[in-house]
Subunit: 464 residues, 2 copies
């Protein structure tokens, strides 16, 4: 084996093909319906970033970052704070994911917008770009990220990698590379510098470091593109090389997922938006429990036990029996089901530190058992309730709300946005921001969206 081992026979030049595609595609080459889904992604991401902006996770990251920030060009969405563009990308990536309420590419469980949109909007405040071009770059970045994820999923995820971080850094690199007009060779270098920073362990789930992953992926991917712009060179085959990303970090490499049907099959258009503020795998249980609550009324207070029959991933990812914090609660199907039955809620308020410690929630949670059924679809669940008087109730959810088959409508995205944003920036800013975000493709300066999120009028005036 020499330093530069030959790539195995039959392996396509994935890094180069993807870089060429990213450089050459034009906004008008992207079908209208794909651009529309990209816009829905952008609006949903903006709401999530504002919604998470006052979380203590963001406060603490900001405290650590502040002494090191460069020129304060870029907004921490939903706050009066501004940072240099790299640090703003980090912070917005954290806040958009901290409530586990963002978007999901269901095939890979990647949350595509966090790493990509956080990088692009922070950059837009420093190096102006139109809203139309930002949306093009966002779709290009998400497409790269999801295709690279498809290439290695599920083996890569099963090994313990948080794929939103590991694949997200490529998405941010591609998006920023597109936005700043890198050459194909520079995009290859950017992919190399991204690959060598690809990281994020699932061990961090349930801690503040989980939401660090999309933030750092945004920052690192942006930095990869900026280094490549300065002709900082790297491997030009970092995805497929014998010691590249796919071989080192996964037992599975399906390169056709990356290069086949580029420009006709759109992974970015498969994005979905969470109706509930936690891992997508427990959404069917929450959906079913909320429906049961609506049907049962006060009878939910007389439950003796609950049985959930779920997809195996539910227990693998969210099998925490006794969560102690709101963040841990997002990884407990037991807490989530109990909160849905007793409060009718799966939003951010169902996953606060207080809610996971309320006595009635804990009592009901402890009566719930869950079994994994490999035959169960990821978007399905069966719920069986036994009441104290021996009577029973059941609920079958065929496809949960927010799944590909039952996507959120634009109106539901609006409602989710408003519910998150109003408590953080108030009603007037929320209304203006929502309108500006939907209007992205008409904006001569995409940075208007960031400025529209600033809560305080004086700060906002100063920024404009």
């Amino acid at each position: 084996m020499s330093l530069h081992q030959e790539t195995a026979p039959g392996v396509p030049h994935v890094t180069q093909i993807l870089a060429d595609w990213a450089v050459n595609i034009k906004g008008a080459d992207i079908p209208t319906e794909v651009r529309r889904e990209g816009l829905r992604t952008f609006v949903n991401w903006t709401g999530c970033a504002v919604g998470g902006a006052r979380h203590e996770t963001v406060d603490r990251a900001l405290a650590a970052v502040r002494p090191f920030s460069g020129k304060a060009t870029s907004t921490v969405l939903g706050r009066p704070d501004r940072l240099d563009a790299l640090h703003a990308a980090l912070l917005n990536g954290i806040s958009s994911h901290v409530l586990d309420y963002d978007d999901t590419h269901l095939k890979t469980i990647i949350h595509p917008a966090g790493p990509v949109a956080s990088a692009l909007l922070a950059l837009a405040e420093m190096r102006p770009i139109s809203g139309y071009d930002l949306l093009t770059a966002l779709i290009v970045g998400m497409e790269a990220e999801c295709r690279i994820g498809n290439c290695v999923y599920p083996h890569h995820y099963d090994r313990g990698w948080h794929i939103t971080g590991t694949a997200g850094v490529f998405g941010a690199a591609a998006a920023v590379g597109k936005a700043i007009g890198l050459s194909s060779r520079q995009v290859r270098w950017a992919f190399g510098i991204a690959a060598t920073q690809s990281s994020g362990l699932r061990e961090m789930f349930g801690t503040m470091t989980k939401s660090f992953h999309p933030g750092r992926a945004a920052q690192n991917g942006m930095f990869a593109a900026l280094l490549a712009e300065a002709d900082y060179d790297s491997s030009e085959r970092a995805i497929e090389a014998p010691r590249g990303f796919a071989n080192v970090m996964s037992d599975k490499q399906d390169y056709a997922e990356i290069v086949d049907d580029l420009g006709t099959r759109w992974e970015a258009a498969l994005n979905s938006y969470k109706p509930f503020a936690c891992g997508i795998v427990i959404h069917p249980a929450i959906d079913g429990c909320i429906q049961l609550r609506e049907e049962l009324g006060d009878k939910v207070k007389a439950i003796r036990s609950v049985t959930l029959k779920t997809h195996p991933l539910v227990l693998e990812l969210t099998g925490k029996r006794a969560p102690k914090s709101g963040l841990e609660g997002k990884f407990s199907v037991y807490h989530a089901a109990a909160a849905a039955l007793l409060r009718g809620d799966g939003g951010p308020m169902a996953f606060t530190n207080e809610m996971v410690n309320e006595a009635d929630i804990i009592a009901l949670r402890d009566t719930i058992t869950a079994t994994a059924d490999p035959a169960c679809h990821e978007a399905s669940v069966d719920i069986d309730i036994t009441f104290e008087d021996g009577s029973t109730a059941t609920k079958h959810v065929e496809r949960a709300i927010g799944s590909r088959d039952v996507p959120l409508t634009d109106a539901q995205i609006d409602r989710k946005f408003v519910n998150q944003s109003v408590p953080v920036v108030g009603k007037a800013v929320t209304e203006g921001l929502l309108k500006t975000a939907w209007n992205l493709e008409q904006l001569a300066d995409a940075a208007e969206v960031a400025r529209a999120s600033i809560p305080d009028n004086e700060e906002k005036a100063a920024a404009e």
Copy 2:
């Protein structure tokens, strides 16, 4: 499997034990000879950072970084440029490694100083620390880094990870955590945030992105400690958890290497310093070829062919037949041997873009064959030369200069320092810097070392 799977039976609480040790150890607990080796490490690292400071790799990284730098507290060693401490750590980590001339923990091929010293000295310019305490923190960081490396080496490296990056980030986190006085719980968090950033692919060898690894490890490990200081929480068992660093990134986990004999067995004291500006594995060949040149004189111009019998890692790591750049030349035992035979040199000048393209070097290089002998020690080589007249010469190197058995003397470290530093910052600055570096333990303010490296007097005056 639940979110927080139990750690496997028998696995010690490695992260906690190492964090407790790092927090509790005092400078005086470190044996004199270990402190002395730490000082030699620091001096050698300082010379390497200054020696690499004008490399185009550093120029390009600096161009990319500059628009994002925060308050310019910290020196890019050997240059008039200053950056915020995080970015200075990145740049100094790059420059100290870019010539492949730094230090080596031979058991793991980790280059320990780059990630750790680069973080500490940049921090010292922002948050003052005595030279004595900086040396203590340096040794603590190197010890953590090398022990974590031992735990997973060689399987981790064989999988394709550049261990200086992947283990180095833990060293930087431990060192900065020690320097700023984190609690044990905060150091555990810092290890968690370090683990989730652990990255760096061997695919990058031969490009500018190789030296990015120690730089980014320094920056990321420092940031991990600073986030932990702000109570940004993380897993507290990131090294040994089922989905932690060792399990996700290696097939081998020998936790005893991390926790056994802490405070009595010192991996940091096993550090060695390269006499030649390239990967350690080709040092025996260069040593032997330089000896042969001294013995043969002009007869080296009449060589028909050369055969090298080497350790297998030599061909795996440095088997590049036709390097085109200086950086690639460092990964060609053929080029290195030819340059040693024809120029008598293994220093930075043997690995310039010009040198790898000189006609006589290329001609001799192409006559060299190398064979891997598993019985050959890593510090040994056998060289057989056949001349055009049919006569022969041989050289057996039992242990190469710079290996553990033939360490560089202090005087040789001085000579190496001067040879690197004078072309970058001149004779006067070099002499002052060398003296200041050796005097580290007596400095009330460790940052004096950084200031002593600034080449231009006016800039230097402004910084003081």
